[in-house]
């Protein structure tokens, strides 16, 4: 077949692995404040890794789409350094905190503007709201087959063959292209990008189109924000930790063994 055109949807979010002491909730503004740099949502990184592996095997072109109120090309350029061919940022003040349908709608508009595609990959869920809806709704909007929770993805002729996680193990499924697949972490981590390569790429001017409601010819009225009534801090998870001290590992192990004996 011809080389597949792959679109990967990647969301920029505050680092979901930031220590919880660096995360606070502004109840009044209904905002989560994360004192940590933004990253690409981890499952979206898995999706990109899956795309790069397909490209290594059968060739193709990878376009990364990232959408938000403000998207940083510094964060997203990592995708190009890792192996994506193009990056398009969907940025508009109206793209802030939209509901899943609206996000999927904006993405579908951008994908229609791109035109040709064979495979769309998204992470199984984003690391901020963990809704796991946008990918599946996007497929519905585009009227293409969707497969969720992939642990491996292969292109075969004009179809995609996916090993999909199921409760008893995995299921091998097939769909005709174009199709959308949501990717789980079992696919594997996004390959390591050397810092020098990243830095070189940051200096090199590459063309990164930015599309907003205007370029996508979207009316703001068609977009619905999440109806957030309240935002609360989480229940306190802290416990009083008894530290087991000792001059040597052996001594600590002895005291720890006593703790286990007490637990019986």
């Amino acid at each position: 077949m011809k080389e597949p055109k792959i679109i990967v949807c990647a969301k920029q979010i505050p680092d979901p692995e930031a220590p919880f002491s660096n995360v606070s909730v502004n109840v009044e503004k209904k905002e989560v404040v994360v004192d940590a740099p933004d990253v690409i949502s981890p499952y979206d990184e898995n999706a990109l890794e899956a795309a790069i592996r397909i490209k290594e095997e059968v060739g193709g072109k990878i376009t990364v789409l990232s959408m938000g109120r403000k998207v940083s090309d510094t964060v997203l350029r990592k995708t190009v350094a890792a192996g994506a061919d193009a990056l398009i940022l969907l940025e508009d003040a109206a793209f802030e905190r939209l509901d899943s349908r609206s996000i999927a709608f904006v993405l579908s508009s951008a994908i229609k503007k791109i035109g040709e595609y064979d495979l769309i990959l998204t992470g199984r869920q984003a690391g901020d709201w963990d809704s796991g809806q946008v990918g599946l709704i996007l497929a519905e909007l585009l009227g293409i087959p969707s497969i969720s929770l992939a642990r491996s993805i292969k292109i075969k002729d004009d179809s995609v063959v996916v090993e999909k996680l199921v409760p008893v193990g995995y299921e091998v499924v097939e769909a005709e292209l174009p199709a959308l697949v949501t990717v789980s972490n079992e696919v594997g981590e996004l390959r390591y990008v050397a810092r020098t390569k990243m830095m070189a790429l940051l200096r090199r001017p590459i063309s990164i189109p930015k599309w907003g409601t205007k370029q996508l010819e979207l009316s703001v009225e068609a977009l619905n924000p999440v109806q957030l009534m309240e935002l609360c801090p989480p229940p306190d998870m802290r416990r009083e930790c008894v530290f087991i001290e000792g001059a040597s590992s052996d001594e600590k192990a002895g005291k720890l063994a006593a703790v286990f004996k007490e637990l019986r």
Binding site: S21, V32, D130, G169, N185, C232, C241, A257, L263, R264
Partner: protein, 327 residues
């Protein structure tokens, strides 16, 4: 307003516990709305499961039956449920945040021109407009959002363990057969085969010993296994768990993963080795009765939620500990 509908799921031929929890949750909401609770059983042979569900005093149990609904083929299930919702117009549709629910709810909601809220941990009725108010943890559990959405039916998926399971009732439910008009053309994803793998059930363990990003090599899980063996002589069933990075590296299969997208467990003891404690992991094990952390980083999150902590290298502590346990 129409009934509250719940999606019945099965496990080992019987009702999945999460389904019983949904029934209990739905009953509470139905009282506030002065409406009834009905359930839908989907499949190629729905009679046995419908019979089981009928014991719970529901208004109606719909049997949504068709040969294409054999197993779980999402395209067919979504198509059939879309048809049923249009036929019976439920006001609220409660679905478990299960493997099936995660896939069905977003697609079904889209087709019914509404927006689902997934992984809810609380539901109540807005007295003002009778809308369904949903509580949902976000940022892995670092914050709790309270949201509403437009559109009928109001569709949500509910996290496991939020409601107590319902008890059978004195009155039997009316069972109604529904034949959805489905055909092959609906199926756009073809199932080639299912490969069953041995799956560990971490929720059945007395003790879970889990390794994380701090485990240096795949082979080091052997010392965790030795530790588990030593402990299992005295502490019941001891199983090995892990955090997400270990699965990402391909060192362990995902059934071992503890956390938001893995198992959520509450064993007698949880031993976290080299796990810094990202909140997405913590939500999966925070209900453990005792938490014991071994980590080289005194400042890590895991020590903040642990009952006992050892600051040190697992490579030294564990072999010594195994020896002490065997003495």
């Amino acid at each position: 307003m129409g009934d509250i509908l719940i999606l019945v799921e099965s496990k080992g031929g019987g009702l999945e516990k999460m389904t019983l929890e949904l029934i209990r949750g739905a009953e509470g909401l139905a009282k506030e709305l002065s409406t009834g609770v009905s359930a839908v059983v989907v499949g190629a042979d729905t009679a046995p499961l419908a019979e089981s569900a009928a014991a719970y005093g529901l208004n109606k149990v719909y049997r949504l039956e068709h040969t294409l609904l054999q197993g779980f083929q999402p395209d067919a299930w979504v198509g059939a449920l879309e048809w049923l919702c249009k036929e019976v117009s439920p006001g609220i549709f409660l679905i478990s945040h299960s493997f099936v629910g995660r896939e069905v709810a977003p697609r079904l909601a889209y087709r019914l021109n509404t927006e689902a809220t997934t992984d809810c941990i609380g539901l109540r009725i807005d007295p003002a407009d009778k809308g369904l108010i949903r509580t949902k943890p976000i940022y892995g559990g670092n914050a709790v959002a309270i949201v509403k959405t437009e559109g009928i039916p109001q569709i949500v998926t509910v996290r496991k363990g939020i409601f107590e399971p319902a008890e059978p009732a004195a009155t039997r439910s009316e069972v109604v057969s529904m034949a959805p008009p489905l055909d092959e053309s609906l199926l756009r994803v073809k199932s080639l085969k299912t490969v069953e793998q041995e799956v560990v059930e971490l929720d059945k363990a007395n003790v879970v010993i889990a390794g994380g990003r701090g485990i240096a090599e795949k082979e080091d899980f052997e010392v965790l296994t030795d530790f588990a063996k030593a402990l299992s002589k005295t502490h019941g069933r001891v199983l090995i768990g892990c955090s997400r990075p270990v699965v990402d590296k391909g060192w362990m299969s995902s059934d071992h993963q503890v956390g938001l997208t893995g198992s959520m467990i509450s064993p007698d003891a949880y031993v976290a080795i080299g796990i810094s404690g990202a909140v997405q992991h913590l939500v999966g094990m925070i209900r453990s009765k005792k938490i014991i952390a071994i980590n080289t980083d005194l400042g890590c999150n895991m020590f903040k939620v642990a009952d006992y902590g050892v600051v040190g290298d697992y490579k030294e502590i564990l072999p010594a500990l195994i020896k002490k346990l065997e003495e």
